[in-house]
Symmetry: C2
Subunit: 277 residues, 2 copies
């Protein structure tokens, strides 16, 4: 049996009772490390908080391991119970579809234990989840790679009065270009896009395209460390949010569509006060 267990958004205490029960009875426990384990206080050499809670060792599975060594996880799951832990919900922002498909093809039973993900937790700001259009991803721009397909999607959403969730790029354990050329893998330090960078890139694309989809005065909501005890949620214009230090990652951004009075009333609690700028 392969258990895919969502850990939720905060820390080790956000696992469900059902999830904890499953993990405790598993022979092997892997944790995906290629989105973010920041809020779980895990560095590559320290999983101790989780291990203490679960009463068993936890194996850090980075992107390469899950992609290249899925066989190891799957052959273990064939003969015993294996847990694969995922930050957020197993099928939230990141997808673990491939591992599940491979398991099912091998006839391994898969059980999913859900949890909160960014996709539903953003509801806390008061903007109704059913008033969101398509979600977009904002990738880090480089000198030569500045993909802007998000622009058209935001345009469509805004034309319909819908809100847009922007997921911001995460680069963890990316092999450096230099090391790839040399044939010996070395990794870039992890990078997490800030709200400030996301807005810069958004405005750059607006300037290039010039179709007035949004501008500096467009209302947005910025989220940092959503679901953690030190989360920050601020509503304001793009211009205003750029001035705010949201602190440590992860960040995400919502571009507000047409709002209803109930949504406005809730947003007001998160709105920037001029005196705080």
């Amino acid at each position: 049996m392969l258990y895919i267990v969502g850990l939720g958004l905060g820390d080790e205490r956000d696992i469900t009772l059902r999830g904890l029960e499953a993990v405790k009875q598993c022979h092997k426990v892997y944790i995906e490390a290629y989105t973010s384990l920041l809020s779980f206080g895990i560095s590559s050499d320290g999983l101790s908080t989780l291990e203490k809670l679960y009463g068993r060792p936890v194996i850090l599975a980075d992107r390469e391991m899950v992609e290249e060594k899925a066989d190891e996880i799957l052959s273990a799951a064939r003969v015993s119970d294996v847990a694969f832990l995922v930050v957020g919900d197993p099928f939230g922002a990141t997808t673990h579809t491939d591992l599940v498909v491979r398991a099912k093809k091998l006839g391994i039973e898969v059980r999913v234990i859900h949890n909160a993900s960014v996709m539903n937790a953003i509801g806390i700001c008061g903007l109704q989840l059913y008033r969101y259009g398509e979600t977009v991803s904002i990738p880090f721009f480089t000198q030569t790679w500045r993909p802007d397909s998000f622009y058209e999607k935001i345009q469509r959403n805004r034309n319909l009065g819908l809100h847009t969730l922007c997921l911001l790029d995460i680069r963890v354990k990316e092999p450096s270009l230099e090391s790839l050329c040399r044939g010996k893998k070395q990794y870039e330090p992890p990078r997490y896009m800030t709200i400030k960078t996301a807005i810069e890139q958004l405005l750059e694309v607006e300037q290039a395209k010039g179709e007035s989809v949004y501008n500096e005065d467009t209302e947005c909501v910025g989220f940092a460390r959503l679901g953690s005890e030190d989360q920050i949620i601020v509503a304001g214009t793009m211009c205003q949010l750029q001035l705010i230090d949201f602190g440590a990652p992860l960040h995400c951004l919502v571009i507000t569509g047409k709002t209803h009075p109930v949504e406005e009333e809730m947003l007001d609690f998160y709105r920037i006060r001029r005196e705080n700028l």
Copy 2:
């Protein structure tokens, strides 16, 4: 302090450790009873499973109580810790924005403890969450009230190749029309829309509007009791899904947009086999 605690989708074991900790330290514990407590095995006279787990009494708060007697909840939260339990995520399919707004206006600190909701748990079928358009609600049609605003929204989503989540109507503790006329409230028995009824209504509207947004052969995914141990997930055409007995509520339906190969691969596991019909 007012804790708004998501219970998740399955049963009492889907609360998070953080949520359970909060509930256990609260002086008063309310549970919202106006969406559905079905999967929690709670009838109006029996909250015992939850009460045993929490070690304290749980007050059933139906729609009237939350709307009319919010004062009671709020004045309790002013002087002590109060938990308000919500099936799914606090800001998932249903909204509890109003209670939160009132609390914040009174200066009561509010803490939200997230959990899975239908909005993210549907990811389990393999359709990517970021490829969904606006969510729609399908209300029970009556002789005189047949609102069809969902049709246009589905049309927009499908034109963009996006999937559409259809939330199906729930009628719990609705005063009967007859009793309202008599001035003495009596309630209709609870009603939960089935996938079969939803598809009937969808096809009726398509026939009336005739804009070929979808038809009997349109691929959908039906979910029953999502997140519970006895959940059923079936992919098939509208026509096929109408023949399936999904059993007890809650049901929801996804109308598939344009799919990617990875999505297809996962959907295949849920697809109806002709021999099962």
